[in-house]
Amino acid sequence: MGFEEMQTNNFVESSFWNFDALFQPQQHPARDSHDTFFLETPSTTNKLPEDYVQRVKQVHEAGGYGSRGYAYDWKREEADKNLLRTHTTAVSSRMLYQLAQKPFTPKKYFSIDRVFRNEAVDRTHLAEFHQIEGLVCDRGLTLCDLIGVLHDFFSRMGMTKLKFKPAYNPYTEPSMEIFSYHEGFKKWVEVGNSGMFRPEMLQPMGLPEDVQVIAWGLSLERPTMILYGIDNIRDLFGHKVDLGLMKKNPICRLGIE
């Protein structure tokens, strides 16, 4: 069984799937207009699965499934607000919800697609970039499994020396930042994020209690820039690329022994 690609061709997403379903509280800074592109048209979503919305509201407000919850007034208007998805994890939440509506079967998913952040733009940051995401959903998965998968995944891109730093992410616990040792720079470089999805995210969807989801994500641009020594992201992506240089680039030999 391999990894199935998730259907990510939906740039417009509701705050519900992008944040609320992921147990991201409504006052979380990521939900600020300084970080997220909200939409004037279409400003709100027309439809959400109502019974699931109630369970999400409940877990935010009062907890449940062993959790204390965040104890605040969860507002439907916030969940209805449309945005340009800030991560493809919005798609993962839809996929896992759909998976939970049927008798459970283990799944592995991946996607590589565009995400949007309303951030200041500079040589290494753009308002849009690509996110690579992988997730494995099965009974009895462990943190040890996640670390094993990450080693396998990153070693295929030539990154064999990894270490992991505890981090915070509202929808994963534990959360780990992934660092890879860069032989050229002689230092550890952050290459991605990972974690196990929280029960407050999975159980309201209806997934069985012993099902765990291990997941990781990284940007496509950053490792590419490191690999090819590109210091300005606009030389890689967008309309300011030099067509002459693009034509002269050698083929990508990654993965060829």
Partner: protein, 603 residues
């Protein structure tokens, strides 16, 4: 993630140990914080004044900028950070925070008037008795309030903190909401008395405070706190009164947090008192305050009770994937400031009652306890086990099942590249002008997704065609030898009522030729080639078994030199010579032809 600045030497003194920078970085890494920058106070000033070239003195105090997790409010100041690290390293026992024993009559009281429910309904308070400040502690106390205001308080909208010299005030206190014109006091850092409505005008030119005015501006009543003698403590969430300002000499600190969110107010208050009660005469002892609402409801704050959570050993080992012994787990939890007692209730299964202290509001669920065990055990120690067992990789099969749309897109890309076109990857966000006016198109508001809060005009809309990105690429490559042949396969997005979110993506192919002449025939040839490789035959107009072209009338193309592509009876795209006005709008001096079509219909 929030970043805090702490003096290196003060931090090491608080830890009771000096580290080399590398050792300290390793400690941070394993605990889950990050040494972001090493600088000095003067270097920061030099940077602000753009005098980076000036060399600093050797005796400048070294400042560590440390990034802490966004849910660990207890780490937002040196005191909390040092406490957590001391416990983590085993230099200190877990502190126990207690309330001072005060009688029902002696307890300070805060009476809440019912009008406050219109604007900012909650208040929580506490007293730090016999505190000893010095310059560094005082600054840290002020900085902590700033950090809390920035983070959990959401720039004072949810919670605002006021700290006062209790010896300059006299209880009981009242929390009221009054018309702005009836509130007057001397605000902090001012010499004269202001009426609250005047003060709001006055602060419109204050760089720091003007950001908070919107929170109460326009309300018929403003929240205000008074003492027994009608001295104004503060006008939250804007400013404190000058009368009760704390100084280095302050001995007894009265803390009030007014809020629209009670849970967060309690967390903020607990963070303040748990971090700074170590400087009190009775270490880690906090004096409570009774808050009495107008309906008689009364609460004692701060709530320093521990939250008990039952967590089983198999749960912890099962999720981490490492077998652990009960004694080991207890020790690991202690390193993370969590007391754990093995519970006797269930004889078959070993489980713990974990006491979550009031400083650890981040712990919501047993999975948070599990993470703390894993951190204390060491993620990298788990890594060594994972790699040795080669667990995980057996679950990671190498095969991938691609989404048919993406697999098909890749096949199309290869075919177009084989014809000699170079692939480009352009932005999805564009300005309204680029999406419409510059292409000679009118915006009838029926198609484009519009961003509500763009930082600049570059991010006003989601592209409804690939054309603006392709034309901008040509404009940036004017010096490239002609002909330029480029293409893109990517998503555009348009409004669609049928979708839950009201919009959908469409996968398009666009290709452009630019040379000494427009190369219409080259683009027409590409259209035929794409159809051929899709096994679609050229048919006569009206026949729905294949494709044909017919004259079109699109404003972005030159009249009479353009056609729509009809596939199985539906229009899927257009091609033609780009209108000279459009080329001029994009500052392209050479003639171009372009095709753009929706490729989803081939699936």
């Amino acid at each position: 993630m929030p970043t805090i600045s702490v003096g290196r030497d003060r931090l090491y003194a608080a830890l009771g140990k000096s580290y080399s920078q590398e050792e300290f970085e390793d400690l941070c890494f394993s605990f889950g914080i990050e040494l972001d920058d090493v600088t000095t106070e003067k270097a920061i000033v030099r940077k602000e004044k753009h005098l980076e070239d000036e060399v600093g003195d050797d005796d400048e105090e070294v400042i560590y900028k440390i990034e802490v997790p966004a849910n660990r409010y207890d780490l937002l100041c040196l005191e909390g950070l040092a406490q957590a690290l001391r416990v983590f390293c085993g230099f200190q026992e877990i502190p126990t925070y207690t309330l001072a024993d005060v009688t029902k009559d002696a307890i300070l009281k805060m009476h809440v008037k019912k009008e406050t429910s219109q604007i900012r309904p909650y208040v929580v308070c506490a007293v730090l008795r016999g505190i000893t400040f010095d310059k560094a502690r005082y600054n840290s106390f002020i900085d902590l309030q700033d950090k809390l205001h920035q983070n959990i308080c959401r720039r004072r909208t949810l919670v605002a903190i006021g700290t006062h010299d209790l010896d300059k005030l006299e209880g009981p206190f009242t929390y009221e909401a009054l018309p702005p014109s009836s509130i007057s006091f001397i605000p902090l850092k001012q010499e004269r008395c202001f009426r609250a409505d005047e003060l709001m005008e006055f602060y419109k030119s204050d760089l720091k405070l003007k950001k908070f005015l919107h929170i109460i501006e326009g309300s018929p009543v403003f929240p205000v706190l008074y003492d027994h003698k009608r001295t104004v403590l503060s006008l939250p969430p804007i400013i404190n009164g000058a009368h009760s300002a704390i100084t280095l000499e302050t001995k007894n600190v009265f803390i009030e947090c007014t809020a629209t969110d009670l849970t967060k107010a309690k967390i903020v208050l607990n963070t303040m008192v748990t971090t700074f009660s170590e400087y009190c005469e009775n270490k880690f002892v906090v004096e409570p305050v009774e808050v009495i609402y107008s309906d008689g409801e009364s609460h004692i704050y701060p709530d320093l009770s521990v939250y008990n959570m039952e967590v089983s050993l198999p749960y912890l080992s099962g999720l981490i994937g490492v077998s652990l012994k009960a004694e080991e787990v207890t020790k690991l939890l202690n390193k993370m400031q969590l007391h754990a007692n093995q519970s006797a209730s269930d004889s078959k299964q070993c489980s713990f009652v974990v006491s979550v202290p009031p400083s650890r509001s981040d712990i919501l669920h047993p999975c948070d306890v599990m993470e703390d065990v894993a951190i204390a055990y060491g993620f990298n120690a788990i890594k060594d086990k994972a790699v040795i067992d080669n667990k995980g990789s057996k679950r990671l099969a190498s095969s991938l099942t691609l989404l048919s749309l993406n697999e098909f897109s890749d096949l199309i890309r290869k075919e177009v590249a084989l014809v000699g076109f170079t692939e480009v990857l352009t932005f999805i966000l564009c300005s309204k002008k680029e999406n419409f006016a510059l292409l000679n198109r009118k915006d009838d508001k029926s198609k484009a997704i519009i961003i509500g809060n763009p930082r600049s005009s570059d991010f006003e809309a989601v592209r409804t065609s690939l054309m603006p990105g392709i034309l901008k690429t040509v404009a940036h490559n004017k010096d490239h030898p002609k002909p330029i042949k480029i293409f893109e396969v990517g998503d555009i997005a348009i409004l669609d009522d049928q979708k839950d979110v009201g919009a959908k993506n469409c996968r398009h192919l666009a290709a452009l030729y630019c040379g000494a002449n427009a190369g219409f025939e080259i683009i027409h040839g590409l259209v035929d080639r794409v159809m051929e490789k899709n096994g679609v035959s050229f048919v006569s107009p009206g026949d729905i078994s294949g494709y044909y072209i017919e004259q079109s009338d699109e404003p972005e193309f030159l009249a009479g030199r353009q056609a729509r592509i009809i596939y199985k009876g539906n229009q899927i795209g257009t091609f033609g010579i780009v209108h000279p006005e459009v080329l001029n709008n994009f500052d392209i001096p050479d003639p171009c032809s372009l095709v753009e079509l929706n490729i989803e219909s081939f699936l």
